[in-house]
């Protein structure tokens, strides 16, 4: 038996230069759209950049928006790995906020050391419960998780709407708001005179936690195998049904945490519009993140910039907010397209390599 190990193979590199190109193309298409709508693309993009990086407050706004997007998208990364398509983050964010509000409104005055963890746990638990139900229904009843999570969103959102219009409504307020939560549950502000709160640090810590869980634990290993090859997972004794439920608990819990953090850091009261569709944007971010927490972080930042910048375009140039949404959608489309393209390049490279090996 020969022990000589010739370096026959080089691991093929995913042609990762594709993604920046895709984003560039999306921006070019966006520029065309802006020009057709009668705005100068250069000025509009300048307004977008000013709106998101122009001053300290703008940067703080970007990070404020990154926080819930990142938390929810990290959770969805896990359910994506278990091959579950969850649309439920939006509803789970609402319920997470509701859970945190329930603690912070009705438990009386609490010190921050008790109130903040307690509110977060409440948000995580109720979000996990909401996600877990959908996972359990999929495993037990073979219910389609896309439909179930979508419908459960309506229940969650309407429940919050009912609470702030009815039993939890602050009688002194004109708007359908709850009363302000107890002071102890306010997340400390990071930069004075901005809305930036410590939630971003929690979200960044979660990136590290998720990286570690995925790379270094048996749970992460099982999820990775499930995500990369479900047939091999099954044949090698990894229980995909268990993975589905666990991953839905985790993704629900993370969305719940996002809602709780949003309530404690930004709104400080339960309102009708807990989330401007963060839960749906998080789905896109999780897809672009391709299961890698650090990539999810950058995708979340990028989308926060697009959303904040779209506000800037609207305020300074009167460009409708829908153009911002279209821009996000373009980025997703081009990024997905680039994945297919990359895959083809990769396959070609593999064929070439194995041909070289046959020699």
């Amino acid at each position: 038996m020969s022990h000589e190990k010739k370096p026959i193979l080089r691991a093929p590199r995913a042609s990762s230069a594709m993604l920046p190109l895709a984003i560039l193309l999306a921006l070019v298409c966006g520029a065309l759209l802006l020009a057709l709508s009668g705005y100068s693309p250069i000025e509009a993009y300048a307004a977008l950049l000013r709106g998101s990086f122009g001053n300290l407050n703008a940067i703080a706004e970007v990070l404020v928006k990154t926080t819930p997007l990142l938390l929810a998208a990290l959770g969805l990364t896990i359910s994506n790995r278990a091959q579950v398509i969850s649309i439920g983050a939006e509803g789970q964010i609402y319920l997470g906020a509701m859970g945190a509000a329930a603690v912070a409104l009705f438990m009386g005055a609490l010190s921050a050391y008790i109130a903040i963890p307690l509110c977060m746990v409440a948000g995580i638990l109720i979000g996990a419960l909401w996600g877990g139900i959908a996972g359990w229904l999929k495993v037990r009843m073979n219910a389609n998780e896309v439909i179930v999570t979508l419908m459960m969103n309506y229940i969650a959102i309407e429940l919050v709407r009912y609470l702030v219009n009815g039993p939890w409504r602050d009688p002194n307020s004109v708007e359908p708001y709850s009363a302000l939560i107890t002071d102890g549950a306010y997340l400390p502000t990071l930069i004075p005179r901005t809305r930036l709160h410590v939630g971003i640090l929690i979200a960044l810590a979660m990136v590290a936690v998720f990286w570690w869980v995925l790379r270094r634990t048996t749970l992460g290993y099982q999820l990775t195998v499930c995500g990369a090859n479900p047939d091999a997972a099954e044949a090698n004794g990894i229980n995909s049904r268990r993975m589905i439920v666990i991953s839905m608990l985790i993704s629900g819990g993370m969305a719940g945490l996002a809602g709780a953090v949003e309530l404690m850091g930004v709104h400080h009261r339960l309102i009708e519009e807990v989330s401007p569709e963060y839960g749906f944007t998080a789905i896109i971010i999780a897809v672009l993140g391709r299961g890698k927490p650090v990539r999810v972080l950058f995708a979340a930042l990028f989308f926060a910039v697009l959303t904040t910048g779209a506000d800037g375009m609207r305020l300074t140039m009167g460009i409708p907010a829908s153009i911002g949404s279209i821009l996000q959608a373009l980025v997703l489309l081009f990024a997905l397209g680039s994945e297919i393209f990359e895959q083809r390049l990769l396959t070609k490279e593999q064929i070439r390599l194995s041909a070289a090996q046959q020699r």
Binding site: L9, A11, Y221, T224, V225, N229, G237, Q350, Q357
Partner: protein
């Protein structure tokens, strides 16, 4: 030792694919299944490894009843499996050799402790497999999908045969391999047998079955129709039995 008693398995279209199947596989023995493809061999294998329900009858490995146990319990009992479709069921092509080597034992010490993977132990294990089975690769970080068929099969066999294997189920182990790899795989199976592993060999290659098996069972329309020890093999008789003419 592994035994099947009166095992009945449903096929994909609701018809029974295997019926009344009895078989004992002893330690240190290769039992080969001869048969024309589509006579219930793949359903039988799936039922043994836990990918298909056993309708009635029993499966025991080492005295432990595993008839309705999930796949992971069978793995814990020492069942190992080299599937026919190695890229689909055997390995995860996108992951490295090291990651793939851990798929059967990542739950056990020293490869993980209290749910935390021990990368060093896994890497050492992978390096040992690469060394012992002469797997040609750049390093244990190489993506398994880039290996040649022969090297991928060696890795699969190395992993499945390496530790705690009481029953090794091997399905079409040399399909699509070059001559060198075929010889290597066959010799590895014989070595494993000599070390005392019970092996069930299913192969469409009749020569392979006749050459490697200590006992040959002919399967026809889901039933065992003939059983011969290695020294009583008569090719013609087995050929007739495979065609349902015994």
């Amino acid at each position: 030792m592994a035994s099947l008693r009166g095992v009945q398995v449903q096929g994909d279209y609701g018809k029974p694919a295997v019926s009344g199947f009895d078989l004992d596989i002893h330690a240190g023995e290769i039992v080969g299944i001869a048969g024309v493809d589509g006579n219930g061999q793949s359903e039988l294998v799936e039922a043994i490894v836990g990918l298909r329900k056993i309708g009635s009858g029993t499966l025991t490995i080492g005295g432990q009843d595993l008839t309705s146990s999930p796949a992971w319990k069978r793995i814990d009992a020492g069942l190992r499996y080299v599937p026919a479709d190695r890229k689909r069921r055997g390995v995860v092509p996108d992951l490295s050799i090291a990651d793939n080597s851990a798929i059967k034992n990542y739950r056990m010490a020293p490869y993980s402790k209290r749910g935390v993977l021990q990368p060093e132990a896994i890497r050492q294990f992978a390096a040992r497999l690469v060394e012992e089975y002469d797997i040609r690769c750049e390093s244990i970080n190489t993506q398994v999908g880039t290996l040649s068929g022969g090297n991928m099969q060696k890795l699969l066999l190395a992993r499945e045969a390496s530790e705690n294997s009481a029953l090794l189920v091997v399905e079409h182990p040399t399909q699509g391999l070059d001559i060198g790899a075929i010889e290597f795989v066959r010799k590895a199976l014989l070595d494993k047998r000599d070390e005392g592993t019970a092996i069930l060999l299913v192969s469409a290659d009749l020569d392979e079955v006749l050459e490697l098996s200590d006992r040959v069972v002919v399967m026809y329309e889901g039933a065992a129709v003939q059983e011969r020890r290695h020294d009583e093999i008569d090719r013609e008789e087995i050929g007739l039995a495979m065609a349902g003419l015994s």
